[in-house]
């Protein structure tokens, strides 16, 4: 856990003094990834660099697991935390192995243990150890270098990682890939991470919580969902963008919005006449057919007329079926592309779990937006 209490940082003195951070107080829980977000010059990088004493504090305290960082030797403090920066900063005179081994060597690990750890990290970041171990940074692509930067930061298995726009130097396509990979690693190891970014998308995608800064002040510190739906002021609202409801869709999962007990479903063994009656009584436009707990297709009113058989025999296959863990953004996209009102939702076993429609999504967003507001 990292606690910042009344942290201020003033650069220079007298008339030229610039306040980079103004009485910032926030707490980062163990295992959380917190993104520090804001335009350049807002103080987010300063806060990161205060954390491992690359910059001296002007006032306030920073505590790591309850211990004031000023009471720890600064070199020891830094070795106990991972550090990754936008420019990557791989040492060109060292091999990939030598780069990743920096902190373990400083900590005096024996060479066998280091070798094992380096290979483990390379595999974790999907780089073949036998190929990459003895290469030099100059031989790697930007994306590969960035991964080595992450590996170096994880090398001594620190509890806390400080990352200053660690994926800032690569193109958007590779960035998304490395973000996903990093989240996969994070899900496994649950590090406490301070992650500086100026990219709202990255902040939303990566952060368990987002801290937004403006001119040295912490303006809002909330989960991505709340930040998007309830920005505390105009500045945050502008910063997260007018399309924030759409961004929200990328964060929310089908399970949160779906209709778990839809009425317009029917068993596959039902006769067509019975189904037609059920449909007309309830004024449904179509029915979803469930057979052995699986959604096997749908049927419209027109198809049911003048037929006399089981409905499963005349089922038209669903154009798209979504999973409960899919994002609402993907669902929305499917709704826009296909001529269906209700999409079938399946759980991890492939069993029918419910349906989801445009109305369900809107209701869900509105309930968070208005419900929490009052």
């Amino acid at each position: 856990m990292i606690q910042y209490e009344g942290v201020s940082k003033i650069f220079g003195s007298g008339q030229e003094a610039v306040t980079a951070l103004n009485k910032v107080t926030l707490e980062i829980e163990q295992g959380d990834l917190v993104t520090l977000l804001g335009p350049s010059g807002c103080g987010k990088t300063t806060l990161l660099r205060l954390t491992n004493r690359l910059l001296p504090l002007t006032s306030g305290t920073i505590k790591i697991n309850g211990q004031d960082i000023m009471s720890v030797d600064q070199v020891k403090l830094r070795r106990s935390m991972g550090y990754a920066i936008q420019q990557i900063g791989l040492f060109p005179n060292k091999t990939i192995y030598g780069n990743i081994a920096v902190v373990p060597r400083l900590l005096g690990w024996d060479e066998d243990r280091i070798r094992e750890r380096v290979d483990e990290l390379l595999l974790m970041l999907r780089l073949e150890p036998d190929i990459f171990r003895s290469r030099y940074p100059a031989e790697l692509s930007g994306g590969q270098q960035q991964r080595i930067g992450v590996a170096r930061c994880l090398a001594a298995d620190p509890e806390i990682l400080l990352m200053d726009e660690p994926f800032g130097a690569i193109d958007p396509i590779n960035r998304e890939e490395i973000q996903k990979e990093f989240l996969r690693v994070q899900a496994q190891f649950k590090k406490t991470i301070v992650f500086v970014t100026h990219d709202i998308h990255e902040a939303i995608r990566m952060g368990d919580k987002i801290a937004i800064f403006q001119e040295g002040r912490l303006i809002q510190y909330d989960t991505p969902e709340i930040t998007l739906l309830r920005p505390v002021n105009r500045y945050i609202a502008d910063f997260v963008g007018t399309d924030r409801a759409l961004k929200m869709l990328g964060l929310m999962r089908v399970a949160e919005a779906m209709n778990k007990k839809p009425k317009n479903i029917i068993k596959g063994s039902t006769s067509t006449q019975e189904a037609l009656k059920f449909l007309e009584e309830n004024d449904f436009s179509g029915l979803i057919i469930i057979h052995q707990d699986k959604p096997i297709g749908y049927v419209r009113q027109k198809a049911l007329r003048h037929k006399n058989t089981e409905v499963k025999k005349i089922a038209e296959p669903c154009p798209v079926i979504v999973g409960i863990h899919d994002t609402l953004r993907d669902v929305m996209s499917n709704i826009l592309m296909h001529d269906v009102r209700d999409l079938s939702v399946i759980d991890d076993n492939g069993d029918f779990a419910g349906t989801i429609s445009y109305n369900d999504i809107q209701k869900c967003i509105l309930s968070i937006y208005t419900g929490n507001r009052g």
Partner: protein
């Protein structure tokens, strides 16, 4: 008429030069032992002084990277010494070193060479280390390297090619200055030039001049090779890949 005599004069001169060259080769051949001894002496003076100069200048260059204000003063000081003509410096040192009985000979020569070497070596060490990209220094600090470790693991290895280039400049320059030091009895290949002039012995002058020049070229090439050998492999790869 004028035209004709001018051209015949130049032909004579060319013939004279050709004969002179042959005579110079004869001189070298006949005095091979002497040539060898003086060359070794020359190399000895230069190598010893550059070595001592490096012991002073490299640590100084490293130290001033940590103190920008002092850096400027030190380099200005070294620059002033560079502007003193070598003959004048020998003259200035004469009364001082006479007090300990070394007004002439190798001692003032080596001291002068050390003084002249300071600027190129200090400057290149300073620039080499200052040119290490700031993000590498930041990464080093952030990962928990202290000043010494950073120097040993990153800054010195990356600055080595530039530092060696400074030594190369100093060595080549000192070969020339050491030739002048023959006038204060330091020995070396300058002896041929100095005595040749005194005796109006053209072949002797030529021998001295040619051998000093060849030595300078040879040392320059060897130092270039050393520079290349000491450049870290990863940096060389980066250069060839154009990064």
């Amino acid at each position: 008429m004028i035209f004709k005599s001018a051209s015949s004069a130049s032909i004579q001169a060319i013939e004279g030069e050709r004969i002179g060259n042959v005579n110079t080769l004869n001189f070298i051949h006949e005095n091979a032992d002497m040539c060898w001894t003086l060359t070794l002496e020359h190399i000895g003076i230069v190598a010893f002084s550059v070595f001592l100069a490096a012991l002073i200048a490299i640590p100084t260059g490293v130290a001033i990277t940590r103190h920008d204000k002092i850096a400027k003063k030190i380099m200005n000081g070294a620059n002033i010494f560079m502007t003193i003509p070598s003959i004048a410096l020998f003259g200035l040192m004469l009364p001082v070193l006479s007090l300990i009985g070394h007004g002439l000979g190798k001692v003032p020569a080596v001291i002068a060479l050390i003084v002249y070497s300071q600027l190129p070596i200090i400057r290149n060490t300073f620039v080499g280390i200052k040119n290490v990209p700031p993000e590498l220094v930041d990464a080093g600090r952030g990962l928990g390297m202290n000043g010494w470790t950073r120097l040993r693991e990153i800054e010195i290895p990356l600055a080595i090619p530039v530092i060696v280039a400074g030594l190369r400049t100093a060595a080549v320059m000192n070969i020339g200055i050491a030739a002048i030091a023959a006038y204060i009895g330091a020995g070396g290949l300058g002896v041929f030039i100095q005595q040749g002039i005194a005796r109006a012995y053209e072949e002797m002058i030529m021998t001295g001049a040619i051998m000093v020049a060849v030595l300078a070229i040879f040392v320059d090439a060897s130092m270039a090779l050393l520079e290349n050998i000491l450049t870290p492999k990863g940096v060389k790869i980066g250069r060839t890949l154009g990064q």
